[in-house]
């Protein structure tokens, strides 16, 4: 059975459609990425799935239940890391985990969760003394303490420096190896590529592409050639890189100009993403 099943989901705020009829499913045990720029409808979708918001239309099943009518035992099977929000500044890291553990039937031990999120050195620090990245790890720890089957991560690494982001990715990978299902929203292409088994790209409330990262890249067969000429960045896509490169370099040699920083690469997920989410000129 799918962990999440969404059919024709719609949601408007004050007449503005934030989510315009999207469909996707998440299989048990996979990491699913909802990728898209800010304002694409990612958080709205996630908040409907965890039961914070009601939908205007469509069908939603999360762990077999409708989140709008879900009960306490259902909430015991999910874990949520919200995009923003504080915890209790005057409780320590360990006290948070002990407090939240008390809400669940069969919680994980706070000791294990401290290690899993890498806060064992900070267990007795008050939350207000933690750095932004440490607070974010505590957010994750609090979401994991109930040993949920399905974990929702809303932009888990926004604002992280590169090394903190890589550490967070390791933690999220370890969730998959524990057999958890993960829904991850992100606007970082690399994050989706690194972590997600499958991705849906959202743009203005609609899914414009979905599949494995490799599928999406394969849909853009082009090769990208990029160089600088007199300080101007030039790039183009081609179906026939051998010929294009031959012509370009031949021309450069003949006319005696220099192709600075010349590079040739297969289209990446980033190229696909930028093309998919490109805004039309207003």
């Amino acid at each position: 059975m799918d962990a999440v099943d969404v059919t024709n989901l719609r949601k408007s705020y004050d007449g503005v459609e934030a989510v315009r009829g999207i469909d996707f499913d998440i299989r048990a045990g996979e990491v699913f990425g909802l990728l898209g720029p800010n304002g694409a409808g990612k958080t709205t979708t996630l908040e409907i799935l965890v039961g914070h918001r009601t939908r205007d239309a469509g069908e939603v099943r999360v762990l077999g239940s409708d989140p709008q009518r879900a009960d306490r035992s259902w909430r015991g099977r999910i874990g949520v890391v919200p995009q923003s929000g504080e915890l209790f500044p005057n409780l320590t890291v360990r006290e948070h985990l002990e407090l939240f553990a008390g809400y669940y039937e069969e919680p994980r031990s706070p000791h294990d969760v401290l290690r899993l999120v890498g806060l064992d050195q900070k267990a007795d620090a008050r939350t207000r003394t933690l750095s932004g990245g440490q607070k974010r790890r505590l957010d994750l720890g609090v979401a994991l303490i109930g040993d949920p089957e399905l974990i929702f991560l809303d932009e888990p690494t926004t604002g992280f420096d590169p090394s903190a982001r890589r550490a967070a990715w390791e933690t999220i990978r370890s969730l998959r190896s524990l057999g958890k299902t993960v829904l991850l929203t992100t606007h970082y292409i690399e994050e989706a590529q690194q972590l997600a088994d499958r991705v849906a790209v959202l743009r203005r409330g609609e899914i414009v592409a979905s599949g494995t990262p490799a599928d999406l890249i394969a849909r853009a067969p082009a090769t990208v050639i990029r160089y600088r000429l007199n300080g101007e960045e030039v790039s183009f896509q081609t179906e026939d890189p051998t010929r294009a490169l031959h012509e370009l370099t031949g021309e450069a040699l003949r006319d005696g100009f220099n192709l600075e920083a010349l590079e040739v690469h297969r289209a990446t997920l980033e190229d696909v993403y930028l093309e998919l989410t490109e805004e039309e000129p207003q």
């Binding site: 965890v50 039961g51 914070h52 306490r72 035992s73 909430r75 015991g76 999910i78 874990g79 949520v80 919200p82 923003s84 929000g85 504080e86 915890l87 209790f88 005057n90 409780l91 006290e95 407090l99 939240f100 008390g102 809400y103 669940y104 039937e105 609090v142 109930g146």
Partner: protein, 247 residues
């Protein structure tokens, strides 16, 4: 799970020093200060210390269960903690009842300290009917807690919340005669005070502490406190939100 949450609420209250100072300690300090200043005079024809103690019990109810609870809930809502608790199996009735029990417990402790201080420092006799005093205090705490939740629901952001709360409960305490006799007040203030629940709670405390009355003989004052509490409860049930205001 109720006691798990109640323990956590106690820890949270005592660790937030500012909240604990303003809502718990301040009434005790005021009692000591005002008592030293003019407790040995007669106020409205009765012993000044006893008169003040009754006022401070009412003021304590307003500051702890009304102001303190409202601030605590607004801060938790706007910081996103309430929303996060909603994604856990902790049920809303369990949570709310633990928060209420915690704040009422804190107020009752404060009241016990006030009464004990009155006895030790100023020789204020214990009321004839301690049961009546306990009932009056619980009644006041329950009513003001409902009003506190209602106020939290009406405050829209954390930024101005302490200003709004202070601008309400301090003048209310003053008008209701918590610090001074209302006799010297202009007519209009006395009328306003008469409408507010705190003046009736303070009158109940004075009746029980000074005149040895029983709470069940003062049902008109009880009714005013209860009506305000019910009104607060209705607003709380209709308007209370778990989510912070949209950014």
């Amino acid at each position: 799970m109720f006691f798990h949450q109640l323990r956590a609420e106690q820890k949270l209250f005592w660790r937030s020093r500012e909240l604990a100072f303003f809502t718990f300690l301040l009434p005790i300090l005021f009692f000591l200060l005002l008592g030293s200043a003019y407790g040995d005079e007669e106020i409205d024809g009765v012993n000044g210390y006893t008169y003040l103690l009754a006022g401070m019990l009412g003021y304590g109810a307003a500051s702890t269960t009304f102001a303190g609870l409202a601030l605590l809930l607004v801060i938790r809502r706007e910081s996103g903690v309430l929303k996060r608790l909603r994604t856990t199996p902790l049920s809303s009735p369990t949570y709310i009842s633990a928060v209420l029990a915690s704040i009422i417990l804190i107020f009752m402790l404060e009241a016990a300290i006030l009464v004990a201080l009155g006895r030790i420092a100023f020789d204020v006799p214990l009321p004839e009917s301690i049961l009546s005093l306990v009932i009056v205090l619980l009644l006041g705490a329950g009513s003001f807690a409902a009003l506190g939740i209602a106020l939290a629901a009406l405050i829209r952001s954390a930024e101005g919340s302490s200003a709004v709360v202070n601008a309400l409960y301090l003048p209310i305490s003053f008008i209701s005669g918590a610090f001074f006799s209302q006799d010297a007040f202009p007519e209009v203030l006395r009328v306003v005070g008469e409408i507010l629940p705190l003046s009736h709670l303070i009158v109940l405390c004075r009746d029980v502490m000074i005149h040895g009355d029983r709470v069940w003989n003062q049902l008109d004052d009880v009714a005013v406190v209860v009506v305000w509490g019910v009104a607060g409860l209705i607003v709380a049930l209709r308007r209370f939100r778990w989510e912070p205001r949209e950014r």
